[in-house]
Symmetry: C2
Subunit: 334 residues, 2 copies
């Protein structure tokens, strides 16, 4: 069985075991998550997303190292999620490269998940892993995802602060940066900023930001907030996503990036956004779980072959999808 007390007291082996149970979606993992839930809600969840080649993983390592160097060092968990890669080796290799810099530091826990699953399922598993880290007392949880697909957006929704990483020299950029990804960005990072073309990348990001937020006149280089009037005439504090240049290879720009993250956290707390995001996230989790439970309960009431018969009648176009649903729901009620 899983030792909840050992997880709460931060024992690595107990945590590793729990993470595996959550990833495998076992009943024991579910039970443990329910017991750990009251102990969650303290960590700062930072999402880091970007296309391959942006140096995202090195940046995540540097963030971890800088948080460890703090006068009051933070406990850091890194969760690397690659939903698109058919090559599970990539994530493993990533861990090995990471080891060299962060090895032996018990204040850092790294976990990668390269399994290819259903989209909704992946976000849910990620949420479970994050809750486990949170309960185990990690102060900062870095959630690293690749690319710009829906699954990345879903996973990013988990995070309190989302960093979108770009780099010069990845082509025309505009094509690579999806509007949907910009919308979730709290901080834009131009990594590999020692490369040629950094001005172009930054300019492209700035004009895309202006396109994405046409109502906002000013975009300053440094993260800051702006007071605006809501349609109802009330005052609202908006966060203006700053653009920060970094060179993960030598740590340039990292102190500034940490400062932006800290400002964003403060903004979330003072504006009430943190509570709103948390509530929205929990509501989404509740709705998904309710949906699954309702389907499971209904399925348990079905007689053998009933669903298959309805599907066959549907495929033969003897009944419509609407009629099939009515038929199956009526049976499920008995």
């Amino acid at each position: 069985m899983l030792d909840i007390q050992a997880v709460l007291s931060g024992q690595r082996l107990a945590l590793a075991r729990l993470l595996t149970q959550i990833e495998n979606q076992t009943a024991a993992g579910e039970q443990a998550l329910a017991e750990l839930f009251p102990h969650t809600g303290r960590a700062h969840l930072i999402g880091v997303t970007g296309a391959p080649g942006t140096g995202k993983s090195s940046l995540v390592n540097q963030l971890a190292l800088h948080y460890r160097k703090d006068p009051q060092p933070k406990k850091i968990a890194i969760l690397a999620v690659d939903p698109s890669s058919p090559f599970s080796g990539g994530a493993v290799l990533g861990d090995r490269i990471r080891m060299s810099a962060l090895t032996g530091d018990t204040g850092v826990f790294i976990r990668s998940m390269a399994t290819r699953g259903s989209l909704g399922g992946l976000a849910q598993t990620t949420a479970g892993l994050v809750q486990a880290f949170d309960a185990a007392g990690f102060d900062i949880i870095l959630i690293e995802t690749v690319g710009a697909g829906q699954s990345e957006v879903d996973i990013a929704r988990l995070a309190h602060t989302t960093l979108v990483v770009e780099a010069p020299g990845l082509g025309d950029d505009i094509q690579a940066i999806k509007a949907g990804i910009l919308e979730i960005a709290d901080i834009l990072v131009v990594n590999k900023a020692d490369r040629a073309g950094v001005e172009n990348t930054e300019r492209a990001l700035r004009s895309m930001l202006q396109l994405a937020h046409p109502g906002q006149r000013v975009f300053r280089h440094h993260g800051q907030t702006m007071e605006v009037a809501t349609p109802e005439g009330e005052a609202e504090t908006l966060w203006l996503p700053p653009i920060q240049r970094t060179v993960a290879a030598d740590g340039s720009g990292l102190p500034e990036l940490l400062a932006h993250i800290a400002s964003h956290r403060t903004h979330l707390e003072t504006s009430g956004d943190l509570a709103r995001r948390e509530r929205a996230r929990l509501a989404a989790e509740l709705d998904l779980r309710l949906q699954q439970a309702l389907v499971a309960r209904w399925q348990a009431g079905l007689t053998n072959g009933e669903y298959e018969q309805a599907l066959a009648a549907l495929a033969a176009r003897h009944i419509s999808p609407q009629a099939a649903v009515r038929q199956l729901l009526d049976h499920g009620k008995e």
Copy 2:
């Protein structure tokens, strides 16, 4: 009320009214879809997807024109879906440009949908529109989507044959082409093939195809099938996605592209893939509708404020999501 008989006999005004009802998700639209369902399943659904700038819309127009020039002209519906665009004007403008070439031809029906909705909802609405075109007797339904997001993948799943369009000169290409999109491609089109760099684009596509299908040794230029052994030792016919160059502006490569589409259709029919895809699609639709119906039925049984109370307890971390689900489900049962 909606005139089902008029839709079935192909009257454009009745069809246009029905499409609007489906888009607005009205009860009348749902009822009409249920009645039309037995008359669906005859059209060939062709998905066309690609990044902005690939000339995808012109290609769709050319496909329509070529199908109309056939000795036995086909009835063509074009459904242009842009889930990401915040600018609804784009789709409207697209329709106007199309008009000049296809105007006055009653064998062609064009509809665009630029509304920005929830992802699942968009795919569902698209499926409804496609069913209406199918029942109204259109032989070919061209479903045009932009980009490489999850919604495009969802919409592409509707199609029997999916064309992924690329073009030279859109940057490094490799970044722009998402692995997920390649997986859904039945035919790869390099449009604007009179431009410089066409060889690079084709080479990039070819190597990405080989990466995506590492088991398949050969990739020939022309669409063809390959016999392989399944892990169970049975023979299986695989479709090898061909790469076709086109110039939509002057129609070059269009006859070859139509031939590839026809070959793919034949492959789908002879391999049994068509029946399998149809069944999988209908099963997915049934599951989604069941889920929605179960949630709606449960919600109807909730007392006022019950859900909100559970959510508040959850946000305060007084109960776990698992406990909240148990509590809400028990109440819903009464």
